[in-house]
Structure formats: structure tokens, C-alpha cells
Amino acid sequence: MIINIRNKFSSPKQLITFAVAVLVGVLVLLPLMWMFATSLRVPQESLRLPPSLIPKLPLLWSNYGKVFTTLPFFKFFINSFTVAFVAMCIQLFFSAMAAFALVRIPFKGAQMVLLLILAGMMVPAQVTIIPLFIMMSKIGLYDSLYALILPNMVFPLAVFLLRQFMATIPLSYDEAAYMDGAGRFTIFFQIILPMVRSSLAVAGIMHFLLVWNDFFRPLIFITSQRYMTLPLGLYTLNGFMGNGSTSVILAGVVLSIIPPALLYAFGQKYIIEGTAAGGIKG
């Protein structure tokens, strides 16, 4: 055993760095382990000490069933998904069109337009939320999924990412297609869009996560339970229910973080790329 470790770590210094890295990893995982282990406990004893970090028998998977029967979890889930998915699709389509105009159609003021779009990244949410709240109330969209979808169509990072990638495609593609009689829309849909698939994935995943995880806008725009998204719904219900149902709430918490966790597991490459690209803008 000792020989094995010696082989793997050439020096004691490397062993120490590895040990520290593992320790930090454990600290990252501990709260999540507690969350999961507690979500499988008898609800009345959710918080009884000693706490569990590793699920103890009997495993109460029924808590997960209760998430669907005693909480309107499914409704929250559908709302979250609808808002994030619809906002993402529309936003990606619009942003791709804008990026296309910015780098593949020569026109005066392109630089100015880009600056105006990117300036959106600097505006605190608090500045626009009050006017948006008033606007939504006045046009009757307050307390509906529209109030969440519409303002979320503004996502400057997507325009930035797509523009950057489209700029690397040689203009000769457009010219050749133009010679063959293709119009702007044909060039956009059949040549450029297929070539920027990976940037669309990066911008799409980043945006989906952002909207899925958003708590602030639903908090302001939604009051009826039937329109609540997952974060707001769980938060509100947690306030209503006593400590006697903590494990059911935690089961809901665990379920609610599965979609972003899955996106991360399978789209890690895109998320890292999106984060890194966000770094260039500075």
C-alpha cells in the first residue's frame, strides 16, 4: 500500500497538495451529502441529532413521492422548464440574427449597436425590475409566465459569443452562396447557423441555467402558486411548512438541482467555454 502511494506521488509535497485538494472537495460535497441523506429520513425526525451524512436505513424514498403528492412540485417543474426553454429558444434565435447582422452585413454604426447591446451586461437587475414590474402590471401580464419569459429575452452574452464565432467564418461562404442566388435568410439558416452550433450550445446552456436558477424575477413577478417556478415555489412552501416536513422539502431541493447538475455533467465543456468567453469581455 505504502509503495503504491509512493509510486503515485513522486514527493511528499505532491501527496500534501493532493490531500488538501481532497479535503476541499469533501467540504464542497458535505452539505450536498447531508441534503441527500436527510431527504431520506423520516420527516418527523429530519433534523434529529446526530445528523446523517450517509443515508441510513430504512431509506424513505416515499419522501420523494410526497414531493409530488403533497407539493405542487410537478407544476413548479413544468413552469420552470417552460420559462427557461421558451426564453432560451427565442433569445437564441434573436441573438443569432443580431450577431449575423453585426458581422456579416456591412452597415454604418455596427460598432455603436454592439456597444449598446453589451452595455446591458452592466445594468443591475434592480434598476430595471421596478419599471418592469410596473409595466407588467399595467399591461396585465403580472403574475403570468409571460412576465418571466419576456424580460429574459435580453441576454447580451449570447450576442457577444455568437458574434465572435461568426466573425471567424470566411466571408467567401456568403459570397459563394450569393452567387448561387441565395438570399440573406438562406445564407443565415443554411450556412451560418449550422456552422455556429457549438456557440449556440454554449449560449443556450448558459442562458437556460441562468433562467432556471433565477429567484429574484419570479419573486417580484409571481404571486399565484400555479405560476411559481421551482426555486420560488420551494422557498414559499418551506416557509409554510414546519420542521416536521424538512426531509420532504429537502427531497424537493434535491430534485430541483438535478436538471442543472445533469446539464453540467453532460455540457461541462460548453459551460467552461461560456464562462471563459465571458472573461474576455472585460
Binding site: W34, L53, M97, A98, Q126, P131, F215, I249, I272
Partner: protein
């Protein structure tokens, strides 16, 4: 062709232009307008001049709220930068195969829903039933009032914020370190430089653009901090952790004082813009872009 260029650009930019005007530009202008009015959404708005701003600068509660925000900004920017850089250096010094595992793990909390995990963390910080105090009691430390002591609540916010978001600074530093040409390190190794010299003369200077970017981003994010006090402390005890953004939220949606609330939002916006410009200017003195 020229004619159609202009027309096509308009067509392709149209949808984005429309959504940005409706949901970004008009709201910004509207916010500036509201800041000079008294408005509660039910009765008509009334122009009050600078009254909202004078109230903001004379009200006895506001200095504390600005001070809280500043305190959190200084604390969080420092901690995230130092800890993020530490983690990045740590992971970069591991064997190549294991780096990806730790990068995956350390960034993981960043993609999780803040509201969801904050629900769990409130139980974790619970004074009598939480696991932190349970583990501390095992080593003989008395229960710490994490959620309702004006001193400890800052520790609570720091712990949660680091657990949830340190992965961001880590990832930027991890990528930044990877962009430093390896030849510099090889040259230093041949010259027999020790690790501290290498950090001082190679890693740090070449990492300054990333450090600057991380600090600026952290500054922008933490000056707008809302989630941590909202979920963990509710701004309390008293006003101990009430931040500007929380105060904006409360004046708007609990007191329906939209004019005053907009004035505070504008003050945050202006402060943010001024500090960002200052940082951009100061950065020219210490950030090294040529390598």
C-alpha cells in the same frame, strides 16, 4: 446591394432591438424618471423633485445600509480572490489526470440553484439542530448563533458565499494560469528559481489581467448582493446585514414606495459606474497586458 444591406441589417437586428428597447432601455429611463416622483402604483405619480434623494441622504437608517454593503464587498472580493487563486494554484499543481476531476467538483456548486441550496443551508446553520454546530460541539465548541448574531452573520454569509460561488473565481484563475506560456516556467526551472520567486516574477505579473477581471466582476456582483442576506438572515438581526439591494426590494415591494426605491437603485447604479471607471483607470498602473 447597398440599399439591401441597410434593409437587411434592420430586419436582422429588429427583434433584438425591439426586445432591448422594451425590456432594457425604456426600463432604465423609466427608473431615472421614477426616482423623482412619488408613486405607489395605485394613485397617479407625483413629481417631487429631489425629495427622494434628500430622504436617502438624511434618513438615519441609510448610512448603516451603505456601510453593510461596503463591508460585504470588501470581505467577499478579498476572500473570493484569495481563495479562488489558492484553489486554482492547488489544482494546477496536481497530476494532469486528476485536474479535471477537481475542476468539475469545485465549480459544481456554482451551477446549482441558489434558492434551493440556501433552503438547506439555513438548516445547516441552525443553532440547535444544524450540522455545523453539531460538529463543533463534538470538539467542545459552544453553539454559535450563526443566523442571529450581528457579528456571526457575516461569517455565515462568507461561508455560504464561498461554498456557492468560489468556483467562479477558481475557474477564471484556472483558465488564466493555463494561458501562461510554459516556456517561462521552464526557463525559471533551468535558472533554479524557487517557487516563491517564480510566483512573484512570473505567475503573478502574467496573471494580473485575470486578477483584475475577477476583482472587477466580484465587485460588480457583490455590490448587488441580495440572495445571501435574503435567504440566510433576512437582513437581520436588526439592520446588521441589510444591503442596498435588499433595501431597494423592501421599499418597493413591502412599502410600495417605488419612487424612493428607484432613487436608491439609481444611487447604486451611479456608485457602481463610478467605481468601475476608477478601477479601469487604476488598472492601467498594475495590470500587465503584454506577453
Amino acid at each position: 446591394m447597398k440599399q439591401s444591406n441597410k434593409k437587411d441589417a434592420l430586419i436582422f437586428l429588429g427583434p433584438t432591438f425591439l426586445t432591448y428597447v422594451l425590456f432594457l432601455y425604456i426600463p432604465i429611463l423609466f427608473c431615472f424618471y421614477l426616482a423623482f416622483t412619488k408613486y405607489d402604483i395605485i394613485s397617479a405619480s407625483e413629481f417631487v423633485g429631489l425629495k427622494n434623494f434628500t430622504r436617502l441622504f438624511t434618513y438615519s437608517r441609510t448610512p448603516k445600509i451603505y456601510a453593510n454593503t461596503l463591508k460585504l464587498v470588501v470581505m467577499l472580493v478579498t476572500m473570493h480572490t484569495v481563495f479562488g487563486l489558492f484553489l486554482a494554484l492547488l489544482v494546477r499543481s496536481l497530476a494532469h489526470g486528476t485536474q479535471h476531476v477537481f475542476r468539475f467538483l469545485y465549480y459544481f456548486p456554482c451551477i446549482l440553484t441558489t434558492a434551493s441550496v440556501a433552503i438547506a443551508w439555513r438548516y445547516i446553520f441552525n443553532k440547535d439542530l444544524g450540522i455545523i454546530n453539531y460538529f463543533l460541539s463534538q470538539v467542545g465548541v459552544d453553539a454559535i448563533p450563526w443566523l442571529n448574531d450581528p457579528f456571526w452573520v457575516y461569517g455565515t454569509i462568507a461561508i455560504f458565499s464561498l461554498w456557492k460561488f468560489a468556483g467562479n473565481a477558481f475557474l477564471y484563475f484556472y483558465i488564466g494560469l493555463g494561458n501562461i506560456p510554459i516556456t517561462y516556467y521552464e526557463a525559471a526551472r533551468i535558472d533554479g528559481a524557487n517557487p516563491f520567486t517564480v510566483f512573484k516574477h512570473i505567475t503573478f505579473p502574467l496573471l494580473t489581467p485575470t486578477i483584475f477581471f475577477v476583482v472587477l466582476n466580484l465587485f460588480i456582483a457583490s455590490s448587488q448582493i441580495f440572495d445571501e442576506p435574503f435567504f440566510l438572515t433576512g437582513g437581520g438581526p436588526g439592520d446588521a446585514t441589510r444591503t442596498l439591494n435588499l433595501y431597494i426590494y423592501e421599499t418597493a415591494y413591502r412599502e410600495f414606495n417605488f419612487g424612493y426605491s428607484s432613487a436608491i437603485a439609481i444611487s447604486l447604479f451611479v456608485l457602481l459606474a463610478v467605481f468601475t471607471l476608477i478601477q479601469l483607470n487604476v488598472s492601467k498602473k498594475w495590470v500587465n497586458y503584454d506577453y
